[in-house]
Symmetry: C2
Subunit: 220 residues, 2 copies
DNA sequence: CCAAAAGTGTTAGGAGTACACCCATGG
DNA sequence: CCATGGGTGTACTCCTAACACTTTTGG
């Protein structure tokens, strides 16, 4: 730790949070981006984010920026990694704490945005050029999300309260970018015990599908 | 991202790095701590660390602080988590990027320290009270280390260039804090293919033990 | 010859993967 | 009646975990 005020001053830096917000729409994993209205990188897309205020935690800053910039209702937020190379921002030394967030498909706003020129969802398979080092941040976030899906339950948060197993499967397929075996998928989900059948059916295609919901706590 | 200089200034914070340095000595997982010479928390132990300078990356800051404060030769460094709650440091708003590091047993200095009052290794099972929120940071680091040991090769870095399988096993046991089955452990290590036998034997106890070394690249 | 650590195989259970057919419904 | 997505079971492989005895050496 530091031993005197002088070196503390010397080291004062800017701290931001940037959030990689994911949702799944039309069978594709998508990221929320904002088109910048000012230099640098004017006109290019960037992650939502902004400076951390003195009285708030890093998480609070992330929530606040999302609210202000996109009006998005987040259901999951997790710290990702901190990027702090000098030169990552042409305006000066800025350290950013990156988060990743999930929004349920049915709550993902098509547009919003208060202080940002324009916000839009982009499929991760077709991202535009990104400002700063945001391409690297998005890349980290995608890897983390895919990774977590294999050993945890992250991703469940992207669905509405009641859902079919087929929709859960296609959600996983969209995130992972590959097809999954139906029987193995259902067996694994059942073994996790995090989901329970409801009385309701969903009548979309031909045969009605059972709707499931999340079990809040483990145990029956 | 931010849109004007004014709010940038408003948000200027202090950024530090803190490093949880692990080694294994005497069958115990240990952490390097420094006794603070100044207020706040004067006399209490804290993690090595300090402020990030304007021209260096976060990693470089971590390496520099370790060199300056402890003279320790690190073989592994990984970013852990960023802690930034207001109030975590009584001197003001300080965001710290925590790292965890590993030092080989044979290179862990018993003492060192240039600008710190006194440095010492503490077994994680018997830590003193720590300054700031450092207890929480150490806790995160231990969980991460134990976790990584089960699905990766982190921890190998703690051994000298040539080592016996028994010493590798007791290293793992010290980190995990539990006993492992000798045959299963050897089978798993062999399956990983990261280790190869050398011609040398080690004659400590009664029956001499084969010395192994790391294979730098996968393949024969 | 004995104490102490080195070294070595087999079996059982669980998790993941590959694979194909019948069912219920709306049009 | 048929097209469409819903729903189900079995066999194989691989990884993990439990478990005990023989070998080599120094004293």
């Amino acid at each position: 730790m530091i031993e005197n005020i002088e070196s503390m001053q010397k080291a004062a830096l800017q701290v931001t949070v940037d959030i990689v917000v994911f949702t799944v729409q039309d069978q594709a994993l998508k990221v929320l981006l904002i088109q910048r209205g000012v230099e640098p990188f004017r006109g290019q897309y960037a992650l939502p984010g902004g400076f951390v205020l003195s009285g708030e935690t890093l998480e609070e800053a992330a929530f606040r920026e999302l609210r202000e910039e996109t009006g998005t209702e987040i259901v999951y937020l997790e710290q990702l990694y901190t990027f702090g190379d000098p030169g990552r921002d042409p305006r000066g030394r800025i350290v950013t704490v990156a988060y990743f967030a999930l929004v349920p498909t049915d709550k993902a706003p098509l547009i919003a945005g208060t202080d940002a020129a324009s916000t839009a969802w982009f499929a991760v398979s077709a991202l535009p050029a990104l400002a700063f080092d945001h391409a690297m941040i998005v890349d980290h976030a995608i890897r983390r999300l895919r990774n977590k899906l294999e050993y945890s339950t992250v991703g469940f948060e992207l669905l509405p309260a009641k859902f079919t197993l087929s929709s859960l499967q296609s959600l996983h397929e969209a995130i992972l970018g590959k097809a999954l075996d139906k029987r193995n998928f259902r067996r694994r989900i059942e073994a996790l015990g995090l989901v329970k059948p409801t009385k309701d059916m969903f009548a979309t295609g031909r045969k009605p599908a059972r709707l499931f919901s999340f079990r809040s706590r483990p145990g029956s």
